[in-house]
Symmetry: C2
Subunit: 163 residues, 2 copies
């Protein structure tokens, strides 16, 4: 059994990193017009709307990975995870999508705040107990690390939407 006790400070550092990247995206989309958000991030590349929906769907999946809570917007997956951009499938409006983004992140913040250091070292819900015994790094904290990096990856692209 893994007896690692994580340092509360390190968890705080990682949650701060998550919130920083999350807030940079929120600040960006708050300052973009709907037209800017609907534009391609570069010629022939994903639009801002698609990337925002993609990030919202990935974040919404965290409810399932980290908790036994229901997801808030599982309907996003079909357009933003299982389809490429410009699939023709109906998308929420920019106003709706921004509201979902904020709602999902507020829900996640509440969950993160309630989690104790040892909770973060538990297996996430898509790894089996058997695999986790062999690969103890597949814990909930590692999900936050990878999703923080993922947010930053697409933020770099979405920043090209700014004039």
């Amino acid at each position: 059994m893994n007896t690692t006790t994580p340092d509360a400070l390190v968890i705080k550092m990682l949650l701060n990193a998550w919130h920083n990247e999350n807030k940079r995206i929120t600040d960006l989309i708050t300052n973009l017009t709907d037209e800017q958000l609907a534009a391609e991030t570069a010629p022939g590349r994903n639009t801002g709307m698609y990337l925002l929906g993609h990030l919202a769907a990935v974040n919404d999946n965290l409810f399932k990975l980290l908790t036994s809570s229901e997801r808030l917007h599982p309907e996003l997956d079909v357009v933003f995870l299982h389809s490429k951009d410009k699939s023709g499938k109906p998308m929420p409006s920019a106003t709706e999508l921004k509201a979902y983004w904020n709602e999902i992140n507020a829900g996640l913040s509440a969950i993160f705040n309630a989690m104790q250091p040892t909770d973060w070292m538990e297996r996430h819900n898509s790894v089996s107990a058997e695999d986790f015994a062999k690969e103890p790094h597949r814990n909930k904290l590692n999900v936050i690390i990878s999703r923080t990096i993922h947010q930053s990856y697409h933020l770099g692209q979405m920043n090209y939407l700014k004039k």
Copy 2:
């Protein structure tokens, strides 16, 4: 005795995340032609060459932040940190820059491998002992977190260099 000290697993997770992002960039630049690397990542935006030099310079600064070792390529700062892209200042060639990138990252890997878990929780070299006493999150591990995120941010943009 438990073979892991308290933070060893988390440190391993974070170093893995660093190496993953680092390798994604290395793989990308290995597969791009010199012309592709010299192109703008999007119209009017930074070129791949500039972003690679920028990332190499930021990584090279880690020698100073984390160790008492000399930096390998401090000359990169004037072009890639203190100047914007297209400044007209002389740049290394793509071949040279790729070689520096690999050299810097290999040097950093050797340092990371030699560091013990407690070393990572020490203050980094640009924070004073007084400030660190008040802000213990300003440690060496936090530098790795922020630089991993930074690599991913620009990787998202550099991936637009691919056809």
